[in-house]
Symmetry: C2
Subunit: 405 residues, 2 copies
């Protein structure tokens, strides 16, 4: 499957999209987006596990149970979170207005919000934004992926075509990330939109499975936001035989396509973490259980000390081993290998539980690249896991600590 | 109980101590220390929960079960960790040499090590250090608290006298902290030494209870070291009636004394975290269970975003609430209050689940101090917890990322 960056969500059959600026962002940049399916579509979603959930998340957790979803409306600049009962009323009012403008039921609209938390929503701007987006849908402004950006420095929009049961199917993923939460910004949001024909039950299964190994394995700073949401929408316009079972060739092809787009988005979010100068990928194999694999990979990629070491281009196996040790997983350090690699090459630094005398200059060269792989082989089973993150830089502290000045 | 900073461990009756420099630290600073009880003493300890444990930790976990402990030998500069079988042989050899020099059994010696991990121990220097310290014991060099420092910028040594059953009892605590682990340094080590008469069983109970609410509630960077150890030693030289039960006035007085010294050490470790410019104390009350109280307090003090906000003197209740939300504790955000305070005053920023319109200038003034309290009242029960940490600064990143340059 070839993934390209030139096309956006409205290139998916039966999907219209638009973005606009209504002044929620002080910069004047686009801050509202609308995605609309011309035909009834099904939707699946995974939401933040944070106990403190934003009003739109609470609304969407109910609405995603409905058989049909046709519109996704998103604002950036001001997050509807920690806003009490008024916040829920605002989320509903936004959906109601979208429904009225598009001639669909309010229950078919899902609402998303990212930005400063705890501030009342400027509903006059939000409702005006709905109008502008609704008017622009047919002409296809198609820059929802820009309208959802906050501290993101790069657009995250990937498009691909694949074949399912011999029929061409389109899939497009857009996301925003950066810090996992930020007082002036937000949260991780992702939308994967496809014209494949899939039942709602299968779609939810695919989304849970994919999120587990992609978005849930990204850590920028360990903080889980109140608004994180990953959505998967399918409208059936490709005309493939409906995928209604979680097995068989068509299911596997669909799962692989959603997984590939989602992994691209996950990596793009990690690489664009606040203040990041390098992306880190932990490739862990040889674990005895999936839980051990995931706990260790996530713990390594989340460790402030590992992140700072990668920033300093230091092949610091001690911090890697230490982070595995406090991950909560049980394992024997005596069989563990650790290596670092990048497009400059590969270097073993710890083999079978014992440090290797390695060439520091070569390690420095390998670790001075943009994408650093931490390769771990536990030699205790055949389970693998990947996790993505970024280095810890002074710019991260500046973005998150000095934003007043 | 009045706590002073002028006295050290050898001011405790029956305790001798010495420190020296043997060249394990390139700086030439003191890097070996020895604490010796003139009479048989009992010892209790709590060790790191990291699965990857250093050789001395494994040795001490066995030795602490012995009825008598008389000597504690500590080196800094080069940690005996991830050193395989040789590491264990080195730890035993160090203890053997101490035992020979002091005329005690090897089983009565415990060994501690902090510094660069994965490098072979320079045993000639270690054994020479044991000789120098043993020779100096009687004259009382008494600077073990200096010999155990690594990236610490301040000495951590607190002394107090109290009365138990009408008898004067001395207690002295020393510690090193800084980063929870560091490739060139180490770990958290603490030693509380007292002349109280206590049974080994009661001592272990006191140490576990105290560690739970002091050292285990400190977070500098969320990384748990391979070598962390907190020791409590009591030699009975005060002559109080032996405390042999975990109840009654004498027990409570002893527990309170150990708790107070340990809390001083815990706070000193937090305040001296790598790169820290402010100490953070989370004062949480009104939780429904102890687990909720501890999870929430620790999660708030460990959050990179909270730490960065405190660095920026920002009264960011959103990050506080968010960190509570992903702590793993279940609670209702609707009754939560959040306030910030310092020696400049107190300001409410979130009351009963709703943001307060507060005076930003006043908040900035309160948060621009050296010690910042984050006060949380959950109004859901009567359980409290405290946790300590420090702000996240560019200096932390520099210490942990740029140490090569």
């Amino acid at each position: 499957m070839k993934i390209t960056e030139g096309k956006s969500v409205s290139c998916v059959r039966g999907i219209q999209a638009a973005g606009c600026a209504v002044g929620l962002k002080k910069s004047g940049k686009k801050d509202m987006g609308l995605i609309y399916s011309e035909v009834p579509a099904v939707c699946a979603a995974v939401f933040t596990t944070n106990v403190v959930k934003a009003a739109p998340v609470l609304l969407d957790m109910e609405r995603v149970k409905n058989p049909v979803t046709r519109a996704l409306v998103i604002n950036s600049g001001n997050a509807n979170a920690c806003t009490g009962e008024q916040g829920m009323a605002d989320a509903r009012a936004t959906a109601d207005h979208v429904a009225k403008r598009l001639g669909i039921a309010p229950e078919e609209v899902m609402v998303f919000s990212t930005g400063v938390i705890g501030q009342p929503m400027e509903m006059d701007k939000i409702l005006a934004g709905v109008d502008i987006c609704a008017d622009a849908l047919a002409s296809g402004g198609d820059d929802v992926h820009r309208a959802i950006m906050t501290t993101d420095t790069k657009e995250k929009c990937f498009f691909a075509e694949t074949e399912i049961s011999g029929i061409p199917v389109s899939i497009c993923g857009i996301a925003k990330g950066s810090g996992m939460i930020h007082p002036n910004m937000g949260t991780m949001l992702s939308y994967v939109i496809t014209d494949a024909a899939v039942t709602k039950e299968v779609l939810q299964k695919v989304q849970e499975e994919v999120t587990h190994t992609t978005f849930n394995m990204v850590s920028v700073d360990g903080d889980t936001s109140t608004n994180d949401t990953a959505v998967l929408m399918a409208n059936g316009c490709a005309g493939n035989p409906v995928i209604d079972s979680a097995e068989g060739e068509a299911y596997e092809a669909f799962l692989a396509a959603v997984h590939e787009i989602s992994e691209f988005l996950a990596k793009a979010i990690a690489a664009d973490g606040e203040g990041a100068s390098r992306m880190i990928e932990v490739d862990l194999k040889g674990a005895d259980t999936e839980e051990t694999a995931r706990l260790c990979a996530r713990s390594v990629v989340s460790s402030s000390l590992v992140k700072a070491a990668v920033h300093g281009a230091d092949a610091n196996w001690g911090r890697v081993l230490c982070a595995m040790g406090y991950s909560g997983a049980a394992f024997d350090q005596g069989t563990v290998d650790v290596a670092f690699s990048s497009d400059e090459g590969h270097i073993d630094v710890f083999l079978q539980g014992v440090p290797v005398n390695f060439d520091e200059d070569r390690a420095l060269k390998i670790l001075s690249r943009d994408v650093i792989h931490i390769e771990i082989d536990m030699h205790q089973g055949d389970v693998s896991a990947k996790a993505w993150g970024c280095d810890l830089t002074k710019e991260y502290v500046a973005i998150n600590g000095d934003y007043r000045s």
